[in-house]
């Protein structure tokens, strides 16, 4: 039993987490297609694209240096190690390492984009670092507030938040899920922050950073982008369905459908207003903190 719960389960979870990201993207695209009244590609299409890219050669910018070639690899490695933190093992302060691993991935991606000397990629890089700058603070406020409440200083503190008898606890869970969902949209460069399907370089954020990447590198980058969304989705599933395997997969699929719906119904925000929009995250985080303090004072609704 211990062997099963201690080793097999986490490893299965890890494998699941690493294999699902493209399905996640596939579902989003399918939902969008249905909304547009189209048949849409198979939900497995991203896997085929990945396969195609992995078997291609590369075109590399003559301006670039070594960091351009290793950045996709480092970024993906960071995300895989971060995936271990949300599935295999929990330790005190794991969310800090998680956050900084993502930051490392972002650092090298931004440097690689700047490496090409292209003004478009510079734009993307600049936007990426600016728009994501509030994620870490908000993320830390949320997770550490919940840690303070539970006395457990790791991702494990998120479990059972939703299934509590305390009304405030459920409010906390709602605010947390909302904020995490917003983080998925920002980190994953989805509508209303960025439109992954846009065709104008001037208005893109994430896609424009990788204009010069091709072949294996592009495959790594696309997989990494999907995995990053999946990581935050996993954190949401920890809150909603901490124990059940099937439950967490279902929650993940529901989130994908929700993203698809939002992308179909919403327009993206004007570029100059995105930072204001990301302040919503800080507000949600502060609400979580306030509610936690209320609970610690023994408050009820």
């Amino acid at each position: 039993m211990t062997l099963l719960t201690m080793i097999i389960f986490p490893i299965l979870k890890m494998i699941l987490l690493l294999s699902l990201p493209f399905l996640f993207i596939g579902v989003i695209n399918k939902v969008k297609a249905k909304f547009a009244g189209k048949q849409g590609a198979s939900i497995f299409q991203p896997y085929f694209d990945f396969n195609r890219l992995m078997n291609k050669g590369e075109v590399i910018s003559e301006t670039s240096t070594a960091i351009f070639r290793v950045a996709p690899v480092i970024n993906l490695a960071c995300l895989i190690v971060a995936a271990m933190l949300v599935t295999v093992i929990h330790f005190e302060g794991d969310f800090i390492l998680f956050s900084y691993l993502l930051a490392l991935g972002k650092f090298v991606s931004v440097a690689a984009a700047m490496d090409t000397g292209s003004s478009f990629e510079g734009m993307g890089a600049s936007r990426e670092v600016s728009y994501t700058s509030l994620i870490e603070p908000a993320f830390f406020i949320i997770i550490s507030s919940i840690c303070a409440m539970n006395g457990v200083y790791s991702f494990a503190s998120l479990a059972h938040l939703f299934w509590s008898n305390n009304d405030i606890m459920i409010l906390i869970a709602l605010a947390t899920v909302f904020a995490l969902f917003l983080i998925i949209l920002i980190e994953g460069s989805r509508v209303p922050i960025d439109d992954p399907k846009t065709h104008l370089e001037l208005t893109m954020i994430h896609e424009v950073m990788v204009l010069d990447n091709s072949g294996v590198d592009l495959a790594f980058i696309q997989y990494g982008a999907a995995l990053k969304m999946m990581l935050f989705t996993t954190i949401i599933t920890m809150t909603i369905a901490p124990l059940s395997f099937v439950g967490s997969v279902l929650v993940a699929l529901a989130i994908a459908v929700l993203i698809g719906i939002i992308e179909s119904l919403c327009a993206r925000i004007r570029l100059t207003h995105i930072i204001e929009y990301t302040f919503t995250l800080i507000v949600a985080a502060l609400i979580v903190m306030a509610l936690v303090l209320l609970i610690m004072h023994g408050g009820h609704l």
Binding site: V59, I60, T65, S99, S118, S133, E136, D217
Partner: protein
Amino acid sequence: MKLIVLALIIYLFGAVTQYFFKENQKCNYLIALNTIATMLAVGGTLGCFVSQSYNQDLMFEFGNTLVNVVLSLDGLSAFFVLIIAVVSWLAMIYSKGYLAKYVEAGKSVNSHYFCFNIFVMAMILVVLSQNIFAFLIAWEIMSFSSFLLMLFDADQASVRKTAMRYLVTMHIGVLFLIAGFVLLNIKTGSIWFFDFNGQVTPLIYGLMFIGFGIKAGLVPVHTWLPKAHPVAPSHISALMSGVMIKTGIYGILRMTQLLNQPSAGLGYTILAVGLATALLGILYATGQRDFKKMLAYSSVENMGIITLAIGLGILGIAYHNVGLKTLGFLGCFMHIINHAVFKPLMFFAAGAVYNKTHTKDMEKLGGLAKVMPKTAFCFLIGSMALCALPPFNGFISEFLIYYGFLNSFNTPNYLLIPVMILAMAGLAFVGATAMVAFTSAYSTIFLGTPRTEKAEHVKNDVPLSMTAPMILLVVILTLIGLFPQYSILIIGGATTELVQFIYPVEILTVISFFNITLLVTVGILLLVRQAFLAGKTVTVRNTWGCGYDKGTAKVQYTSTSFTRPFLGFLNPFYVRVMEFKHIKELFPEKTSFKSKIYDIFEYYIINPLVKFDENLLSKFYWIQSGNTQRYLWYSILALIIAICLVLGGKI
């Protein structure tokens, strides 16, 4: 202890005897001597850490108790001696390559090297001195010798002006220190530090905190720092930034050690000062075009993080929270080491760029990674460490601090918890801003294509004497990042001087495991990439420009444009001054645009104060007329007054 005194003697000996060597031989000679001195100092301190035999005193008696000098080595001093010795040794090696051009051009480096060794000696004496007089004298020698070192390019008026400003600021700091020491002396009747134990009251602590804070560059008294560091030669900037400003931190820690039952309010105050320093420091770093100035502001940020950690430690003592006080001080010492590793590294790399291009404006550079690969690599790793990214050392200290924040939740105090959560978010925002600053700096200097001729003309990397210290520092910071659990010896030794603690070895082992896992994963994925690319065509073409391939280097993003969206929403915290000649007629000839970011404290507080001071003092210019007759009148007047006073006393 004897080893360290021997090292001090060697520094002094080197400072004097280098006068007998030829200009181009001086550096080799001093490197040889300082290597011995460094080995002695490192041996002495490590021996002290390993055997845990602190409080080795050495007394130099001169008959009169006032001038007796006691040098004492405890964990705290040993920690700082170690850093000073190692960093100054690397700076000495680096100076060989850096100053070679000046020596060839016939510039004398006599006084520079003299001051260098005296400076190192004074810094070590500052952390060893155990009485007020010895401490203040060493402190003054340190300030003054660094002032002289800054004047290396004294033929430039701006350098002279900045150096004077530095000297004046340092002396304002000393005034606060003297006031604090006088109060201590009145209270205890002693001049010895060990008599002050438990006698430091909040007022004295406050005075000392301001005095030492000026040296450490804490907000709002940091404004000298970003001006002073860029004008000095790079190895001196490295030494000042990496080591000297930490003597201010040493002073604060020493006072904390002597503090009588710190209150929580004090802890919160220090925490707030630290956080404000970190946030503003890194914000202004982001807005700089001068890369050395940017690094100087980043030092302000790091001093802020260290101070914040001290604040955590004091809060831990006040609330009797073992985890918090342990991790606060451990994080503080770890960050001191880390900053002493990566900041010299960055200044060395920046100096290498300056040496090759003769400009400090990063927007005139670009594409240097191809011609200066070693420097670029070191700068990149240093930037990552500064942004506290794993698997490098910066992450370890920030993790300890974050972990301290988490441990504060053990104390169910409803003021402490929200403050800690928000401070944590603040520190996270510092990290995010650091990322903007350093991705911008690295990409603007080293990536893309050269923006001006200055960068185009660079053909090769700097010589070995300049790259070797950098590579050594890169190795050190990677090792600390990968195996942080072994740092117990040094940072633990320093922390025991302040609090009893339990060392969090398990958590650091876990971090070490993940850092190594990260490297292994990168390795595996690189192999995967290689395997898939094997046998495929890899074409090298020009960068995608939307179908347009005649773009020039000028269309590239610069640091100003890169940071613009980010700084856009933080505009209440800085002053952006723009000068733009508006186009008024048809067929305009030439126009220009300038934009510069100022510090709010400098712009609204320090500069008006200086201006007021200048206006006030200029009213007294007539006293110094340069007229001999008038001076004679002054002495006669003084004599008459003196006689009157004496006679008045008699009657």
